[in-house]
Symmetry: C2
Subunit: 234 residues, 2 copies
């Protein structure tokens, strides 16, 4: 975090962001869409995971992607090859997506496509293990990725991301034989921060663990649909 209170406007920026995120989520709920916010360090493999996910789940779910990058549409172009709507947002100098930027993406999406025809919107955040964790964008679940090349200690050193995650993917498992790391110690460090998150070791390269990830996605989408179909119990 750099600064969260704007005295000129008299608003707490995190609070204003939360209001915007709730508004975005209300739109997703209205359209019957589940939204995930994918976050990680740069190069942990968010786009590679999305490529595998779009290929692996396109028979089960109608998907779209909101793609956040400081500059370039390199990742957006990779994902457009899967024939799904990809809305690119360039954040400029900003180190994270915020609710207002994603609202712009949702606006473009819902005016270009019929949003009620979709099941899942995957938001790929800017690569940053710190700031995106504090700015909700309207997601129903936060998915964090940690590449095992980053080392065992990251959950302890960057606690907020690991505390906030609903699902943690340990990526690049194909490199495990060449690294001095222990999956048990990484898992223990994650558990110190977060007793409940699903922890899924995966490799987008070999396909290891992807079925478990696809199951998690399907389950969360079904749970979200059921919750919306259910009238509120008071």
């Amino acid at each position: 975090m750099h600064q969260t209170f704007d005295a000129a406007l008299g608003i707490d920026l995190l609070h204003a962001n939360q209001t915007g995120a709730d508004h975005n989520r209300a739109h997703f709920d209205e359209w019957g869409i589940t939204c995930f916010n994918l976050m990680s360090s740069p190069g942990a493999g968010k786009t590679a995971l999305l490529e595998r996910t779009l290929a692996g789940l396109h028979h089960d779910l109608r998907m779209a992607v909101i793609e956040g990058d400081m500059t370039t549409e390199l990742d957006a172009d990779r994902l457009r090859q899967y024939g799904i709507p990809v809305i690119a947002i360039n954040t400029g100098r900003s180190c994270h997506l915020d609710a207002q930027m994603v609202a712009g993406g949702i606006h473009t999406f819902s005016h270009t496509y019929d949003p009620t025809q979709f099941d899942l919107v995957l938001v790929e955040n800017v690569g940053n293990l710190v700031c995106p964790a504090e700015f909700e964008v309207g997601e129903h679940a936060k998915v964090a990725l940690l590449s095992i090349t980053e080392g065992e200690d990251k959950p302890l050193k960057y606690p907020i991301m690991f505390q906030e995650a609903d699902c943690l993917l340990l990526t690049k498992m194909d490199l495990a034989p060449y690294l001095d790391i222990s999956l048990e110690r990484i898992t223990a460090n994650v558990r110190q921060m977060n007793p409940h998150a699903a922890i899924l070791p995966v490799s987008a390269k070999t396909g290891e663990g992807l079925e478990a990830w696809f199951s998690w996605v399907r389950h969360r989408c079904q749970a979200q649909s059921s919750a919306l179909a259910q009238p509120l119990q008071r």
Copy 2:
């Protein structure tokens, strides 16, 4: 960047940070110390590089470390084993070191040790490829690390860090045989952003490239000393 203008205080935070950084640098100059600011994504190997550097250069340079982390002193404790002063700064929720935090570290350092007895202060920033690049802390050179596991496109996607770097270390070269990357393409992407930075492929694990890094460090420290010894030409 989240927000750089504090309307209540009526100050531009980046401008105020620059003033603080200049102040820190004046202290380093007065003491004959060269200062490097080490920056990268989480887990690119800043601490491993520092371990190798402290071991490899301790006959040539008297070194100290200012170690920035959101929480924990895990990295500081690793480096203390090399018998040098390590000043730990916990940034809390902040995603980067700023000049004021480092001023606090310099204060502790100069009151605990005789700063004129040192040649080089290495500042290890919070792992983040975005924000630290915009906040000078008083360094004479910016050293950026990019782990080759992060992919070839990072210089294009996170331009500010690569534009600002004086030296770019391509780390974890020992993993090159297991990755689908080309050193030529990474270098070409860096050069699009920065025509002048030294680009040094290294592996802290195997020692590959470390002599070139040590030479770069020695050269920069000598150049800095010579510049300070020289009276200003007007």
